[in-house]
Symmetry: C2
Subunit: 353 residues, 2 copies
C-alpha cells in the first residue's frame, strides 16, 4: 500500500524519537512491500522560531491531505513567556481541533519485563491492561470565554460541551469496551459539575445501545485513587479532556515509564494523529537518551487504526516486547537487572527484531 | 478553655465517625480541663430528608457562631437524581462558601506501621510527609454560568478566579512551606489554561516575599504522575480547587487508606471546619467497620489550628500512632499482620492511649 505520512517532530526530544519512528516504518515498508511517503512539517516552538506561529497553515493543509500524522512533542521553557497565541501547545491543540480529532486513545499496559520498574507492587501491575478514551477537542481546553477581565483582576476558563460532543466520545468508549472485555468506567465529577451531570446522563442513555457492555461511573477524585490501589479493576475508561489528561499521565506509572506510552487521536473517519503520551522533555533533549518506544508504539497504532495493517502493527509490538524481554531499555526504566542503552541502540534492537 | 463545636455528622458513615470524634474530644476535655460544648446540626442528604434543603439556615448560623465545626461526610446514591439545588454536596460546598473557608489543608503521611498497606513499594512511601494546600471556594466548583442551554443541547461550567483569591491561597501555601521544609510545589495547567497562567504569575510574584522558600511549578498531569513515582520529592503542594480535589485523593494511596486522612478548611481568622478526606461511603455505612482515624485526626487539626491547643493535638496524633503500632486497624487497611477491629474498638483503643 502507498500511504502519505506527515511527520511533525516538534520540540525537545521530538526530533530524536521521530527518527526512530521513521526507521521502524521503513523496515515495515520493505518487509511488507508498502510505500510510505514522509513529509516533514513544523509545529510548536520549532514553528514559532521558524515562522512566527505555532501552527503554520502549510502544516494544517499537509495534515489534512495526508493518510496519517505522526507527532513528536511540543513545548519547552524557551517559549514559556510567550503571549497566549504564541505558545507551542497552541500548535498541538490547534492541529487536534483543525483535524477534528475528538477521540484520544491511550492504552496502558503492564509489560511483564518491566513491572519491576513500576513504583507499585508487582502483583498489582503485572498483567494490567487499560485503555483510556479521552475526549480531545472540547471541555476546558477550548471553551470560550477564556482570558482576563479588562482590569486584569480576574480570569476565567470555560468548560463547555455540546450533547453531541459527549455522545460521540461516549460511543467510542462503548465500542472500545465491546471489542475488549465489555467493561466501561465513565469518569466525571457529577456531584459538582453540571457538565458532568450531562456526561453521566448521556452515558446512561447510551448504555441501552450496548447491552453487552457493563458500565460503572466513578468520580474523578475516586478514580485517581483506584487507578493506583486497584489498576486491574479497569478495562476501558472514558472521560472528558482534562480528566483524561490527568488520569492518563497518572496511569503511566503502571508501566514504569511515561516514555513507553503511545496514543492515537482519531475521528469518525479520515486522518488520525499518533504521538507518544510524554512531552518534549527539554531536560534530556539532544542527549540521545530518550525512550523511543512511546513513539514507536504510536506508529504501530497508526498502522492499525489508520491503515488497517493489523499484522504489521503486531509485528512492531512484538519486536518491542522482545527487546524488553532481552533486558534492553533506556535509562528512564530503572530496573535492577537489564542493560541500559541509548536511544539509537534501542531503535536498532527493535528493528533487528 | 471553653469552646463551642458544631457537629455536622451528615450522611453515610458520618454518624459513626462523629461519635469517635466526640468521644476523643471528651477525653481531651477531662484530661486537660477544657469545656467543649457540642451542638449537632443537619447538612447534606440528612438535611434534605428532614428539612428539604441540603444546608438549612440554622446550620449556617450555628456554624458562624461557633468556635469550630466538625463535619462527617455528605452524599449517597439515595439523592443522586435530585435536582441541582437539592444535592447533598451543595450543603458541603455551601457551608465552605458561607464561612469563607478558602484554604483546605490536607496532610498526607506515610505512617510507618502502615506502609505495607500502601500499593506503592515500601521504600517509596515510608517517611513521606506531604501537605496539600487546596483552594476551596473558587474555581470550577463555583464559577458562573454553570448549567445547560435553553434547548438542553449544551452545557457549561466556569472556572473563575480573582487575583485576590489566588493571592490569599498562595500566601497560605508559602506560609505552610516556611513552617515546614521550605519547599513549595505549585500545581497548575499553565500550558493550556488562562486561569493557570494567572496562578503561575501570582506564585512567581509572591516568591519575592518568601525568599526562604524554594518554589517549583508542575503541570497537573505531570504532578499526578510524580506523586506516585517520587512522593518524597514533595513537601507542600499548593493548587486550585479541582486539581487539589483530585491530587489529594490520589495522594491518599501513600498512606494505605483514604480513611486515615484528615483535613482542615480555614480562612484568615475565625471559625474553621474539619472533616476527613473520605466521603460518606454508603457501601459500608451502618456496619460499624468504617475507619474513624480520618475524623479523629481531623479533631487534632481543629485543636491545633482553631484552638491553639498544640499539646492536646499532638497527644491525639500520638495515641493514633500507638494504636497503629500495636497492630490495630480497621479492615480498609489490608496489612498482613495486625488485628482487624471494628470502628468502636478502634475509637476505644485510641482513647485508651
Ligand atoms: C501539551 C498539552 C497541551 C497536552 C494536553 O494537555 O493535552 C499534553 O499534556 C497531552 O496530554 O497530550
Ligand atoms: C463531596 C465533594 C463535593 C468534595 C469536593 O470535591 O470538594 C469531596 O470530594 C472533597 O474532596 O471534599
Amino acid at each position: 500500500m502507498r500511504k502519505e505520512v506527515v511527520l511533525l517532530p516538534g520540540d525537545g526530544v521530538g526530533q530524536e524519537i521521530m527518527k526512530g519512528a521513521k526507521a521502524v516504518l521503513e523496515t515495515v515498508a520493505s518487509e511488507y512491500d508498502h510505500d510510505f511517503i514522509f513529509n516533514e512539517h513544523a509545529i510548536g516552538g520549532d514553528a514559532i522560531d521558524r515562522y512566527g506561529v505555532p501552527l503554520p497553515d502549510d502544516t494544517v493543509k499537509a495534515c489534512e491531505a495526508a493518510d496519517a500524522v505522526l507527532l513528536g512533542a511540543v513545548g519547552g521553557p524557551k517559549w514559556d513567556d510567550m503571549p497566549a497565541d504564541k505558545r507551542p501547545e497552541k500548535g498541538l491543540l490547534g492541529i487536534r481541533k483543525a483535524l477534528g480529532l475528538f477521540a484520544n486513545l491511550r492504552p496502558v499496559q503492564g509489560f511483564s519485563p518491566l513491572v519491576h520498574a513500576s513504583p507499585l507492587k508487582t502483583e498489582l501491575v503485572d498483567g494490567c491492561d487499560i485503555l483510556i478514551v479521552r475526549e480531545l477537542t472540547g471541555g476546558l481546553y477550548f471553551g470560550e470565554p477564556s482570558g482576563r477581565s479588562d482590569d486584569g483582576q480576574s480570569v476565567v476558563d470555560t468548560l463547555s460541551y455540546t450533547r453531541e460532543e459527549i455522545e460521540r466520545i461516549v460511543d467510542k468508549g462503548f465500542q472500545a469496551a465491546q471489542m475488549r472485555s465489555g467493561r466501561l468506567t465513565s469518569v466525571d465529577k457529577a456531584n459538582v459539575l453540571e457538565s458532568s451531570r450531562m456526561w453521566r446522563e448521556v452515558v446512561n442513555e447510551k448504555a441501552a445501545d450496548y447491552p453487552d457492555v457493563t458500565v460503572e461511573h466513578q468520580l474523578v477524585d475516586s478514580a485517581a485513587m483506584k487507578l493506583i490501589t486497584n489498576p486491574k479493576h479497569f478495562d476501558v475508561i472514558v472521560t472528558e479532556n482534562l480528566f483524561g489528561d490527568i488520569l492518563s499521565d497518572e496511569a503511566s506509572v503502571l508501566t514504569g515509564s511515561l516514555g513507553m506510552l503511545p496514543s492515537a487521536s482519531i475521528r469518525t473517519d479520515g486522518v488520525g494523529l499518533y504521538e507518544p503520551v510524554h512531552g518534549s522533555a527539554p531536560d534530556i533533549a539532544g542527549q540521545g537518551i530518550v525512550n523511543p518506544l512511546g513513539m514507536i508504539l504510536s506508529t504501530a497504532m497508526m498502522l492499525k487504526y489508520s491503515f488497517g495493517m493489523e499484522k504489521e502493527a503486531e509485528e512492531i509490538e512484538r519486536a518491542v516486547g522482545q527487546t524488553l524481554s532481552d533486558g534492553y531499555h533506556t535509562r528512564d526504566l530503572d530496573v535492577e537487572e537489564g542493560k541500559v542503552v541509548d536511544t539509537e541502540d534501542m531503535i536498532e534492537k527493535v528493528i533487528d527484531h
